[in-house]
Amino acid sequence: MNTLLETVEITLTVNGERVKRSVPARLNLADFLRNELELTGTHVGCEHGVCGACTVRVDGEIVRGCLMFAVQADGCEVDTIEGLSDSREIEELQSAFVLTNALQCGFCTPGVLMAAQALLRDEPNPSRERIREYLSGNYCRCTGYQAIVDAIEAVARARAGRSR
């Protein structure tokens, strides 16, 4: 792709489904998911990588959907909150969030769940301090974070208890 293009044809896998689209080069991944694929669980907040509401997974790792152009996801595997929810991968986290009242308006929740799942995958039993540190890139303007940390901690402790 050594020629200059303003519109680019891309093929990628989103939540396990192959998708082919022609996109403007300037379209960011979060807007692509929301507007082209109608996967509106990925939220768009600050549009400069600070708030974390647009967090999605690309090739297994969490990234900011607003700091990546859709064209850069060409050939990649993308997972959104819809995919993680449908596959029941984050079922325990979702239940714990409800139980501890870890969401109010819910705008940040998809991004927080994506980040929490990534943390627990890499570090199954993090301290509260570590949970806070890891989530420092996800803003919540309702909860004050306490209940979010409670929920993630509860899931980590429950999983650790089961594997003992």
């Binding site: 293009l5 960011n28 900011r64 152009f69």
Partner: protein
């Protein structure tokens, strides 16, 4: 906001990328991980006509250890550096800096070369490169050239890179025996840009400070070596008292400007507090 319109190219080789950069010069920007450039586009601080996406060029990513140095490829992602056993072993200063570089989701995309080529004055890696005496490897039409870190960072978001050149790697000399390093940063919130940060490397052999390189970031238009402070410590016994005694010398090294959150005096005060902590960490 959204990024302005641009034309996109994804060259498959360094030669192809250089041809594009040479053709479009100042109208083009290099896109690597995009974690700084894309916010700048979204803010409309930058509006290049052409984006040259180098992220799929083979051979520009990865960490290699040779007999003399550690080479970090420009496309090496922050997360790879953070998790690298070679970096932890040979460049503990860089390993210590990595958790301070933004947040996990940013480190998964952001690249070493992108951070250095952008030269944000509050970024961690340029200061580490300066403290460790790294050399940047730059490719151009006529071949490669090497630029010492001390000559690479020229000012606010300014480097010695020409518009038609591409940063391909940095080479960090393997630390000599008896050398140690320490890192510290004060930020308003974990992962935020530094209010003030410090990367230190030097010898503490025989309980004496020697050959210290004290690189501050976030207190000037580029990473800065505190030469007066280092000179005041040279050859002196490595104790907390020596460190305390040398701290006033930082007045001669640093002249921070006020920012949105702190006055110049606050920043200078914090620089001294941090220098005390990090130097004590170096000798502990």
């Amino acid at each position: 906001m959204k990024a302005p319109r641009f034309a996109y190219a994804r060259p498959a080789s360094v030669a192809e990328a250089l041809a594009l950069l040479d053709k479009h010069k100042d109208d083009a920007r290099v896109l690597a991980g995009g974690q700084s450039l894309v916010p700048m586009l979204n803010f409309r601080v930058a509006a290049p006509k052409v984006l040259v996406d180098i992220s799929r060029i083979a051979g520009l990513a990865g960490i290699k250890v040779t007999k003399t140095h550690v080479r970090i490829g420009a496309l090496t992602r922050h997360v790879e550096i953070e998790r690298s056993a070679d970096i932890a072993k040979h460049l503990p200063l860089v390993a210590a800096a990595m958790p301070h570089v933004a947040h996990p989701a940013i480190r998964n995309r952001g690249t070493f070369g992108g951070s250095c080529a952008l030269a944000d004055p509050a970024a961690e890696l340029p200061a580490c490169a300066l403290a460790l005496g790294a050399t940047f490897v730059v490719a151009g039409k006529k071949g490669e050239r090497r630029i010492a870190a001390a000559d690479f960072f020229k000012g606010l978001y300014a480097t010695a890179l020409k518009a038609s050149e591409l940063l391909v790697a940095a080479e960090f000399p393997l630390p000599k025996p008896g050398y140690a390093s320490a890192f510290g940063e004060l930020a308003r919130r974990h992962g935020d840009y530094a209010m003030v940060g410090l990367a230190v490397h030097g010898s503490t052999q025989g309980g004496q400070f020697s050959d210290l390189r004290v690189a501050f970031f976030g207190v000037g238009d580029r990473p800065l070596l505190a030469a007066h402070f280092a000179r005041a410590l040279e050859g002196r016994t490595a104790t907390a008292k020596t460190i305390e005694g040398a701290l006033p010398k930082l007045d001669a090294d640093l002249a921070p400007r006020a920012d949105l959150y702190s006055s110049a005096a606050t920043k200078l005060h914090l620089a001294k507090v941090l220098a005390g902590r990090v130097l004590k960490q170096l000798i502990s």
